[in-house]
Structure formats: C-alpha cells, structure tokens
Subunit: 424 residues, 2 copies
C-alpha cells in the first residue's frame, strides 16, 4: 500500500522536479540563442526607462511557455505508469484533466503570442481567456461538478451552512481565468516585475499544495504541483534575462500563459478561492486602477513610472487633465485619497489656456499620478532606481503571501469550523 502511494504520488513528483531542472537549464541556454530571431521578426520593444534606446526582444514568454508545454507533454505518461503496465482500469478521468489543463494553457499561449504579434483589441483580451477556459469548465463539470460552498460562520444566520451556487460558480471560474491573465498584465512596466510576481505567486501556491499533501485531497494538490514545478523552473530561467537591466521582454504572452496556468491549477485543484488570496497586490492594483481602466479618469497609453535622467531614479508618472473632465463624485474621491496620501494630486499646475487667467476653478488643469501600485510605491517610499523598485514590489508580494497563509490557516478558524478543509 505504501509502495503504491509512493509510485502514484512521490515518484511522478520527483520525476517532474528532475524534468523541471532540465527545463530551467534549457531555458537558460536557449533564450540568448533565440534573441536575434525575435529582433529579425520585428518583435522588440524600446525600454522607455533606460538612457540607451536599444531594441529589446519582446514576447519571450512564448519560448518559456513552449518549453513548459514540451516538458509536460513528455511528463504526461509518468503519473500513469502504474496503470499503463499493469492491466488495471485506466483512470481516464485523471488523464482528461491533464489534457484539458494543457489545452487551455496551450490555447492561451497561442492567443497571447497572437496578441503580441498582432496587437489585438481590448475586447479580445477579455473574450479570449473565457473561450480558452471552456475545456477546463467542461472537465470540471464532468469530474467534480461541486458548486456548493461552505458559508463563513458570521453569515450563516442569513445564508445557512452551505450554498449551492450552481451556474454562478461556473461564471465565477470563467471570470477567474480572465482576472488572472489580466491582473498580472496590468501590474507591469518595470523590468522583471511580471515574472517576479508570477514566480512568487506560483511558489506560494506550490507551498500551499505541499502543506496540503498530507490532507484528504492530496491528489488535487499533486496535480497542481505537476504544473507549478515546470512553470516556476521556466519562469526563473526567463527572470534571469528579464531582470534589470532587461535583455528580453516577456510580452503579453507570458502574462496570458501565467494567468491561465494559475486558473488551471486553482480550478482543477479545487482551491480557486484560496488561490485568489495570493493575488492581494494584483487585486489592490486592479481596484486602484479601476478609475483609469474605465476611463473615469483620463488614462494615457503608458502608465509606467518615468525616469528622471538627472538622478537615474524612477518617479511616479502622471496624467494631466482639466478638472471639469471629472465627474463630481470621482473628483471628491480622488481629493479624499489625496488627503490620505494614496494619490498625489496637484491643483492649478498651469492655468488652462482657454481660461485667460480668469481662474474659473472648473477650467483648471490638474495633475494626478497614474493609478497603479507601482506609482503608489514611489509616492510612499520616494523615487528609487528600477532594480530597487522591482525588489520592493516583489517584497510586497512576498509579504502579502505570508498574510495569505495567515488568513488561510490560523484565521480561518474564526470563519469556518475545521480549518484547512472546507474553505477551499
């Protein structure tokens, strides 16, 4: 019995880990060789926060994504070796989960790369992850179809002990894929941040999975680790070249690929709510960005910090607009946040040319920092150079992960009866 668990659980995980090391070294070797291919294909960006204006190869996420896929393609038979060589009933339901997961990730990688090459429109960015997650939802339906959640203690008086969300749960899971892909995509703009935060999130989920290996649902957590080890390995390889000063950019491809990988393990590992706990900085950044994302506050094309050439430090970037462009409640909210120090807001920078100096307050030009977590960090801690900024942001991500573990384990008992089982 013990040897069967070893063959079914630890051996495949161990082999997966070995293959992930291989994938890491392969990533390190192949990226420098492929750089010219990307430049020749006109896939490059100019790093706006550097003094030099060199062409930096873009969308290298497609390389790590492909290595990830190939690693998992080669890995597929291993967890089934026991069933393959004995004549037991083959666990088709396990294999179908693996296939659907890879299909959704592969589809997202294709769409991400298409986006980097073709520059798709915003509505595609919301629609495509939804479509790509369809196979996932289908497999969730036929393998689990568990749409009942346990209601937290304080709300049980109103809602009862458990609540069957039914189709709403599927809508939630579909939106999870959209959220994960875009949340990473909008917390970006300084060297190494996309990959850095993704590695922290992936490592946090992996740690959570390892803790849960001793639980009753260990199979779901082993499944998640199959994906996370190669993901972390290939991303670390990419990080080496994407860290300040970036020699390659990762592209939307990487954000799409990462977001879908997280959605896949969260949904099929059946811990999608816990997983969202590891996205605290992304959720904060999303909420903070809402006024600009929905164009309640004017949103320039790039919201990344700007380089002060004299000090070589990054400063918050700003958006400049007429005060009368804002709706009253938005104006009030921003001024309030300004008082709290969460927004840098400057009135009457220059009188608006139309106002001829009459000083009509509604015609005043105002300046407000672009509403991103990155700019907020620069407001709170002052200008700093790019490498330090990325380090601070990744440290915040790590602290939030610790907070997530604190919420998930000790605090969960306040809301649920038995911590570690029902709140998934």
């Amino acid at each position: 019995m013990l040897s069967l668990i070893f063959v079914k659980m630890f051996l495949p995980l161990l082999l997966n880990l070995v293959m992930s090391f291989g994938a890491y070294y392969f990533t390190l070797r192949i990226i420098p060789r492929l750089k010219d291919m990307f430049l020749k294909a006109n896939l490059f960006g100019i790093d706006l926060n550097k003094q030099t204006k060199d062409k930096v190869p873009e969308a290298l996420g497609v390389v790590t994504g492909s290595i990830f896929l190939v690693t998992l393609f080669l890995f597929i038979p291993l967890p089934f070796s026991h069933s393959l060589f004995t004549n037991n009933d083959f666990p088709h339901d396990e294999l179908v989960k693996l296939m659907a997961a890879l299909l959704s990730i592969c589809c997202m990688l294709l769409l991400g790369f298409a986006d980097d090459v073709l520059d798709l429109r915003w509505r595609h960015k919301l629609l495509l992850p939804t479509v790509a997650s369809l196979p996932l939802l289908m497999v969730y339906y036929v393998t689990y179809n568990a749409t009942t959640i346990i209601v937290p203690k304080p709300m049980r008086a109103w809602l009862g002990f458990s609540l069957n969300l039914g189709p709403l749960y599927y809508i939630y899971m579909g939106m999870l894929a959209v959220f994960c892909t875009n949340a990473i995509n909008i917390l970006a703009g300084v060297n190494g941040l996309e990959v850095g935060q993704s590695v922290v999130i992936a490592s946090s989920i992996a740690l959570f999975n390892i803790i849960e290996l001793s639980g009753a649902l260990w199979q779901a957590h082993v499944f998640s680790l199959y994906f996370l080890f190669p993901y972390i390995a290939t991303s670390l390889g990419l990080l080496k070249y994407n860290w300040y000063p970036s020699r390659v950019f990762v592209g939307d491809t990487f954000c799409y690929f990462s977001g879908m990988t997280f959605a896949v393990v969260g949904i099929l590992g059946h811990f999608s709510k816990t997983m969202l706990l590891f996205f605290i900085p992304q959720v904060f950044n999303f909420i903070y960005s809402v006024p600009q994302l929905f164009h309640l506050v004017p949103c320039p094309r790039h919201r990344m910090p700007r380089l002060n050439l004299a000090t070589n430090k990054l400063e918050p970037s700003v958006t400049l607009f007429k005060q009368s462009d804002l709706k009253k409640p938005m104006l009030f909210a921003l001024r309030f946040l300004g008082k709290l120090g969460l927004v840098r807001w400057r009135d009457t920078v220059t009188p608006h040319p139309d106002s001829c100096g009459r000083g009509d307050p509604d015609d005043r030009m105002v300046e407000c920092n672009n509403l991103t977590l990155i700019n907020l960090v620069l407001i709170l801690f002052g200008p700093m150079n790019e490498a330090k900024l990325t380090t601070v942001l990744i440290t915040i991500q790590v602290i939030c992960s610790l907070l997530a573990f604190a919420i998930r384990y000790p605090l969960a008992s306040l809301f649920y009866d038995v911590p570690g089982m029902q709140s998934k």
Copy 2:
C-alpha cells in the same frame, strides 16, 4: 434504442454541421477586417508571380485555425449531452480523445504561427510536429493500443496473417504527423494550392467517413467528422481570399494546422493507412523532390514556377549548376527521367567560364527544372496562367482521390478477405 443512436450520433453531427456553417460565414466576415492588423505587424509577403508588388498579408491560417478551435471548444459538450443530463457513467475515454486531439492541433497551430513569425529552422519543422503528436499517441495507447496489422494476401506466405508492429506502429504514427504537415507545405507556391488541396483531402476523408458510418466502427468515423466539418468550412472561407489573385497568404501556420488535423483524425479515427491514400499527389511530390530536399541536386530558396511577363503565363523554374556537382548515379537518374519526359534537362547551356571553351564535359553548366509536381505539370501541359495551373493541380488531387477510393473499395478484395474492415 434507435432514438439513442440518433441522440449519440446524428444530432451532434447535425449541430456540428450547423456550427460549421456559422464558422464559414464568420471566416468570410473576419478575414478582410484583420488584414490590416497583419500588415501592421509586418506579417506579409510579396507575390513573386504577379506584375504588381503589393504587400499580401501572410499567415492568415492562424485566423481560420483559431475559429476552428473556438468552434470545437463550443461543440465539446454536445456529443456528451446524453451522459451530462442523465446520471449515466460519463465516457471519459471519449472526452480524453477529443481533448488530446484539440491539444495536438492547438499546439501545432502555435508552432506554425511561431514559425511564420520567427522563421524557425528546418530541424524544428521536423521535431515540433513529433512533440505535438505526443498527447495523441498517449491517448491512442490508453484507448486502443492496437498495433497489429492484417498482412495483405500476397505476403502472408512470409509474414503470416497478422503482424504486431508494437512500438514501430507508434513511430509510424509519429512520423505520420511530420509527413502530413510537411507534405502540404512543400506542395505549395501558387495561389490557392495549399488550401485547395487540403479541402480536397479533407472532403475525401469526410466522404470515406460518411460511407463507413454504416460499419461497425461508426463511432471512430463520427469522431473524425466532428473535426472535418469545421475544418472544411473554415478552409473554404479562407480559400475565397487565397484563390487567384491571392488577397491573403495562408502561411506555414495553415499547413501545420491542416497536417495535424489530418494526422489526428487518421490516428484517433483508426484509419491512418487509408488516409495516406488521399495523399497520392503529396507522396509523389515528396519522392520527386527528394533529390533537392536532400541536396543531391542544388536547391534554390524558392522552387515555385516563374512568371513570363510577356505572356503572363507561368513556366517551370530551373536550377543551374555544374554537371560535375552531381554524383554519377544522380546524373544518370536525372538523364533517364529526362528521356521519359519527367525532367526537363538541358546540357551545355553556356560553357563554364573556367573551362575556357575547352569543353571538358564535367565542367559544363547544366539546367534542370526544380523537382516539384507543379513544375512537372507545366512541363507536361505547357505554360499556363496561375489560376489555371491551380485548377489543374486540384483536379489531379480529385482524380487521385477517386483512385484512392478505387483502391480502398473494389481493389482491396484482391489483397484482403473482407473489403472495408481490415485494411485500415
């Protein structure tokens, strides 16, 4: 019972057909809208056989491939509706086949598009389809694992009635994916040919599937049709814009995508040998091309016919080299083919500059047509304009399909006991 077969077989097929019509019209509408996106992304080619040198958007296969994938993603639940709403045992083995098939196709679409954008090397073109077919082979192993073939009557004296090929059969299937993707890719170079031949092949396989629906293995043939209807629909949409004069090019993406779709239905539909019968022109073109593909005869970058500007007709393109560059057996073989009229071969076009008119026969420059079926057609039927050339080539494809049906049905009884069952 009859109503169950209707629900399980005809209803999904009918819905698939309806969705394929939708995919066709969507393809027609979306391609013109996306053309500029491709031009802006530097994804274009110049049509060498036109008087004008306009930029033609390239790699539009990624669009039809994506529409194909989305159609099938939406279709996935339908064949399972019976099991989804009753509480029967869910057929995970059926779903896993569908997922693996889509995974291989999606992976190939990604690699094809990466090839069009990044211009991958030749060794990748052979390696990548092999990797992409791994999920397919895994699923074949766990669902069929039938590696025994029935030996044709004339060879039974030596080999026995049946032969278990074991791992060799998997190598054969892996190579099938490589062959299908590349065979279409090298029979290309005139407007509409890649898509045209693919539509004829797909329609032939579909017809074969429909004939076999009355047989014992109908489920495998229904499975194949699920893929072929949307494939034919999206490809016909693409053909409208790719036909002479091409307003879009399809790119390697399309050839990879098509080849993998054929390999998928052949392998999982369990009729891979019959399927190869529909590739007669491609097999001929491949064998005819071997001397140039393996560089036994010098091979220029493009082997497509060249336009005679005066007549506006295409003529066979040629390769020019020193007679001494060829190995003796190759020289003999080409001269022999020349006598048969299958190669246009010209000696001593001009004396080689080094030979100073001494006329050493080994230093003579010789001229030989590029060894493709397209050039051979021009040699046999004389120069013609591009639209007519494509029509002739597609007619040849149709005639070969009729020949394939003749081999598969009436003639099969000469080689096998019961036609229509064992020779798959």
